[in-house]
């Protein structure tokens, strides 16, 4: 096994031995169980003073919107979790002296950094795929609703976690775990607010606000990826309704009128590669 894959494997083993995977699994299953109970009650919901049973189209609308809210919660857990596991990945090993024992081995520092990245990426992707699949399965079983493109949504959500994890890993090559974690989290929430600003700017034709939103999206593409996931989960009748609503739908972080442009997807991929390369460069030049 190459040193890079050895480090990737040990990163996953660490998450397992520290009971991170167990804790995540228990909490995720508990949340999925609760949402299953909630969704199971949805078809029997009545509306109005005469307790009219919910119509199939209303059920579909409710299920689609709840799916997006729940996906937002899972994407948030994934993003915050990615920050928490990546922030100590390098700096904590330097502080504890683990790196002092590993790096004099006949390996490149790049092997360690990319190995950690691969291990963390595997964790991020595994969580995104497993939790999303289970949740969508529960929604389908209880309401018969399936989002238009569940696979695309999962890819966007996993990419959002991967982007934030990569940024945090880069910061971890130079900063203490707490510092890198806080910077990444602030970036995440600023990008989220930037996404809201972008929506307002577009709907109200305010170029300044729109540019601020666009700038934040380019600085950290997490919100752009989240909006991509939202679009993949929106049924066509919801998108049509949003377009009709116009300014009424402005700024909502749970809606997306257009799919993520290919140029943005390529930009996000390039951004991720650039941050990883910067991390490799930064770690290689650091004196321990």
């Amino acid at each position: 096994m190459s040193p890079m894959l050895t480090i990737a494997r040990i990163t996953v083993v660490e998450a397992s031995r520290r009971r991170l995977l167990l804790a995540l699994a228990i909490l995720t299953l508990a949340v999925i169980g609760l949402t299953a109970w909630g969704f199971s009650k949805l078809p029997a919901t009545t509306t109005g003073p005469d307790n009219t049973p919910i119509s199939p189209s209303e059920l579909r609308l409710a299920a689609s919107q709840l799916t997006i809210f729940i996906a937002f919660m899972f994407s948030g857990v994934l993003a915050l979790g990615a920050v928490l596991v990546a922030s100590p990945a390098i700096s904590s090993d330097i502080e504890s002296g683990i790196m002092l024992a590993i790096l004099p081995r006949p390996i490149r520092r790049m092997d360690v950094l990319v190995g950690k990245w691969l291990g963390l990426l595997a964790l991020v992707c595994a969580y995104a795929v497993v939790s999303s699949t289970l949740e969508l399965g529960v929604i389908w079983a209880t309401t018969a609703y399936v989002p238009p493109n569940p696979l695309g949504a999962i890819v966007f959500i996993a990419a959002e976690g991967a982007v934030l994890m990569t940024l945090t890993l880069l910061l971890s090559t130079r900063m203490a775990p707490m510092t890198s974690g806080i910077i990444a989290l602030v970036g995440f929430f600023v990008a989220w607010m930037g996404g809201i600003a972008l929506g307002f700017g577009q709907v109200f034709n305010n170029a300044t606000i729109e540019n601020i939103g666009l700038g934040s999206r380019l600085l950290l593409p997490t919100d752009g990826l989240w909006r991509g996931a939202v679009y993949e989960m929106e049924p066509s009748f919801v998108i049509s309704g949003l377009r009709l609503a116009g300014r009424g739908a402005a700024g909502s972080p749970f809606t997306s009128l257009n799919p993520a442009p290919l140029a943005f997807e390529l930009y996000a991929a390039g951004w991720l590669v650039a941050m990883l390369a910067l991390g490799i460069w930064s770690f290689a030049r650091r004196d321990l």
């Binding site: 096994m1 040193p3 050895t6 040990i10 083993v13 660490e14 031995r17 520290r18 504890s96 002296g97 683990i98 002092l100 024992a101 590993i102 790096l103 004099p104 081995r105 006949p106 390996i107 490149r108 030049r285 004196d287 321990l288």
Partner: protein, 320 residues
Amino acid sequence: MPAPSTDRSTTRPPEAAADAAALAVHTQDLAKRYGKTVALTALTMDVRRAEVFGFLGPNGAGKTTAVKLLVGLAHPTAGQAWVLGAPAGDRRTRRKLGYLPELFRYQHWLTAREVLGLHCELAAIEPSRRSEEIDQALDLVGLSERADDRVDGYSKGMQQRLGIGVALLGRPELVLLDEPTSALDPVGRHDVREIIRRLKARGTAVFLNSHLLSEVEQVCDRVAVVDHGRVIATGTMAEILGGDGAVRMRVQGLTPGVPLGSFGPPSVEGEWLTFRGLAADRIPDLVAEVVARGGRVYAVEPRLQTLEDRFLQLLKESEG
């Protein structure tokens, strides 16, 4: 007895690659600066292959920085360093190195066997040899019975033993030990000295960074004393300690003030006479001279200078 060479008197020209290849370590004016802090000024030293080399110095002298430069953990600001004939930090050469850091910890969620297995993989030891290597290392450091326990259940001394085991994986040609006995009890220290002697016997060079002078005195062939980032003395233990020995004798029956030939006038405290600057091989002659002059000798105590005395003296001279 030859005097210890000081500072640059033993330096070799860095361009003499053949010389550098014949040595385990060769540094030439190696310097390291962290911002405004100067950690190493101009470190010049040689460590021969298959010798145990002691690296001494007060806290902050730059000892750990020097070791980090040799294993590639830090990059020099100036100067050059060769390890086993290759520039320090060379990835291929690091296959032949074993290193025990001063302050370290292993992945505490792994067992000792797993830690050793991880380092076998990273050291590119043949998979077919790994099991044997791990068992040998565990046996050597006395951890065989706790091999499958997680490291977080280990005492500090056991972690130190594990660190030494990790450093010895793959039969390295050069082992750099940074304060290897700092967390060990007397039994552990004795074991480490035995391990170092065994390494020397099989032709491994050992670079021992320690502030425990008695330990260095017991196992090292040669030592370098470093202060303020530069070597202030280097040589064999005998060269470092020099000929400044002394002998105390308890004598009765000598006439006060009578000269004792070439042995010089002693300092007198009651019945005790102290002769300074006396080589050990002249003590029998001194006793014979005292007896010939009518003295009755009740005790003879050679007082060889300890490494600690000499170390402090060298530091004082360096400050001066």
